[in-house]
């Protein structure tokens, strides 16, 4: 079947999270994506866990593999002028889209800044993404998504009101920004198709983070209210909590937004006397006695199996969800039906589960294919695309311009 971006050409100079994930959308949808990376200064994710058999190695990381599935890899030591020249040829002679995620001065240092490339290629589309954007007094702020997530306000609103903030697992803006980047690139491609004009897209990871909480921002800019962490509570719902269940660290999330849902919950629990109390009959009553209600609910859940409670309540029309551990995801019949985990054969890691698709396009289904070894596709890129001869390629490898680690 055709894929949406068959024939599209992307050069990915990203590293760590945002750039590579953004480029992966296009690989899944059929584009040829060349990930330019380096052995001398390898992407930190190549060693990062989880690793095949828990052993770190440049071709052993599922963390890297997930974000780079379906790409070709070209290893270049960019300290060499010849490496910079090869990268520049790829951009000028081949690419439709360039993705990069360095702090702002790096691409300029290599002669690969949008302004270096656009005179010869006014139709080029380039996405530059960094923590705080390409302009402004703090453009050069360097960090990872766990910094941008803190700056964008996410830690302040995670955890319990009587405790210090909690981390949001990982590097949260790295999870929010790529969807924005992919959206902007697709829109820029359409604009180019109609106007012939390229685009330089300056995507701030901080701004992407803030753009995902617009109502929280308006509550401050209009009402002066500063949101903070509140456990699992929500003004609109009660019960709205996570309750302990039978077993080791097993929990059920339950969310009741209407009195009708509450009555359905009470029936599903078998109409226990405590739940029929008048003070719990209305949302206002439940809210007024929320702490007590939470204790009573947990007394009911904690002797029960979380998945059985989930199924019982969903049958009754009540929103309930097992707090799934990662290992539960592989047993989730819905994710299975969706085909979420894409088990693919990686040349070094063997059969491994790739995080899969968030959407299904009925007529142009995306495909997840394995991640490359470091520098694996030097022949396809150098000979196939850039028409270097065998001798020239051998020389580039001999000089350390072209790098690889193929085991």
């Amino acid at each position: 079947m055709p894929r949406a971006f068959d024939g599209l050409k992307v050069v990915d100079f990203g590293w760590i999270g945002v750039g590579p994930i953004t480029a992966r959308y296009f690989a899944d949808h059929g584009a040829t994506v060349i990930r330019v990376e380096s052995l001398t200064r390898f992407d930190g994710l190549r060693m990062a866990p989880p690793n095949k058999d828990a052993k770190p190695g440049l071709n052993h990381s599922q963390f890297f593999a997930n974000f780079n599935a379906g790409k070709l890899s070209l290893g270049l030591n960019m300290a060499h002028p010849e490496a910079q020249a090869i990268a520049k040829r790829l951009c000028l002679e081949w690419a439709d889209i360039i993705v990069e995620g360095f702090t702002p001065k790096q691409m300029r240092a290599w002669g690969l800044h949008y302004e270096d490339l656009s005179p010869a290629r006014p139709d080029l589309i380039m996405l530059s993404t960094c923590q705080l954007g390409q302009t402004g007094p703090y453009a050069m702020y360097a960090g990872y998504g766990n910094m941008a997530a803190s700056l964008a306000g996410y830690y302040e609103i995670t955890g319990w009101p009587d405790r210090s903030p909690c981390m949001v697992y990982g590097a949260y803006t790295d999870m929010l920004t790529p969807g924005v980047g992919a959206t902007l690139l697709a829109a820029a491609l359409d604009y180019r198709r109609r106007t012939g004009k390229g685009q330089w897209i300056d995507l701030s990871q901080f701004e992407s983070g803030v753009n995902h909480m617009p109502a929280t921002v308006l509550d401050y800019t209009v009402n002066g209210r500063i949101a903070t962490r509140r456990g699992n509570r929500d003004d609109r719902a009660c019960p709205h909590a996570v309750y302990r269940c039978q077993g080791d660290d097993r929990w059920i999330a339950i969310a009741v937004f209407t009195d009708e849902e509450w009555r359905a919950l009470v029936r599903a629990m078998g109409n226990p006397a405590w739940a029929l109390a008048e003070r719990f009959a209305t949302q206002a009553g439940r809210k007024a006695h929320e702490t007590e209600l939470d204790q009573l609910m947990e007394e009911w859940t904690q002797t029960r199996d979380a998945e059985q409670v989930e199924a019982l309540l969903q049958r009754a029309g009540v929103a309930a969800g097992l707090v799934a551990k990662q290992s539960d995801l592989y047993k989730d019949p819905q994710l299975e039906d969706w085909g979420f985990f894409a088990w693919r054969e990686h040349k070094v890691m063997g059969r491994s589960p790739y995080d899969g698709l968030m959407s299904h396009l009925a007529k142009t289904p995306a495909e997840v294919t394995p991640a490359p070894l470091l520098g694996e596709h030097y022949e396809e890129v150098l000979k196939g695309i850039l028409k270097f001869s065998d001798e020239e390629v051998a020389e580039l490898i001999g000089q350390g311009v072209v790098e690889m680690m193929l085991e």
Binding site: G44, Y138, C166, G231, V323, M358
Partner: protein
Amino acid sequence: MNTDRHKDYLLTPYRVLDLTGETGLMCGKVLGDLGAEVVIVEPPGGHPARRIGPFYKDEVHLEKSLFWFAFNTSKKGVTLDLSRTKGQRLLKELVRQSDIVVESFAPGYLDALGLGYVELSAIKPDLIFTSITPFGQRGPHRDWKGTDLTLQARCGFQYLLGDPDRPPVRISVPMIAVKAGVEAANATLFALFHRNTSSEGQHVDVSIQATGVWQMMNASSFPIHHGVDQARAGDRYNAGFGNARAILPCADGYVTFFTAGGHMGAPTLYAMGRWMESEGKLPDFMRGKKWEEWDLARLATDLKAQQEMDDLNETIATFLATKSKWEIFARAFNERILAAPVNNVKDLVDHPQPNARGFFRTLPHPELDTEILYPGHWALMNNAQAGPRFRAPRIGEHNEEIYCQRLGYSKEQLAQWQRSGIV
């Protein structure tokens, strides 16, 4: 680059019909902010999301929901009762003139009304029809209910958040459907790209649960490769890089600090050493240390290494406890330290960086006799702009424009539909 407000928008030629409920609103907002003409179709009397707070000056009112304002910028609005035959006929007329329909009804609901993908694509063959639902259009859980809390649980993300001695938590504001809306926007545009090269429309099926799994960074395959589940660790960093306290108290709040060795962490630790030395507070054990060689991979198995990590972590915590958030940010910026203040919403609105970039922008709300400050552009671009263009629609605000000027019905006809509750 600059913030030139006269630049083109990227999606100007396209028309979108937004039929979504509370969990689908973000998709249309994104497409509208990028320049598409997005018309949100509300039930007569107003969309249920208008009842969601917070409210303008805390006045509970259908025209004052900040939730509504936030997720419906750059949209026009019409009212229409889709449960009635005449309403369904009018919707089909609108679909004929649209490129994209976005909806978030329970799977099968629109089909039952004769308004599903099969029926609508029969009258508009190149239509892109995007469905955003908790679990997708098929599968054993497709009819399950899902809210932010229960979906954050079911996608695996929530298990990773919160203090170990208490239940897992969600981020305290709804996030999962917001992310799903953005993912629906890119999937929709991918389908549109295909349409423009093939004339072929299609159905796009977005699972909020699946978009939620993509919040977990590297966690999903730990049980496969390491035989363990990652678990919540409160204020500590817990992504398999060792286990250090990542949120530290400072003089006026909290900061996040990334204690790591090797390539990633060494520059930070040298810079902290210089800072501490300049105040005569550098402890001997940090002196002369080669941080590049300080290997975090050992932490998993080596108790001595974990002790070293804990000592370092506490030493830095003690030092930073006397500094303000802003001092720490400025020092982090100048010395490339992996640290950042734990900003609250006031801090981030006041921050000089987004303001220098013109990120926050005011939109006029003449009915409230005010302007409201919104976040902001989606990116800065040299040949285009993307961001909120105008405020969310009032109930039925564009009925006349769409039904009379666009579809050609008379004002009398519109008035009659309004009297009979169709519009």
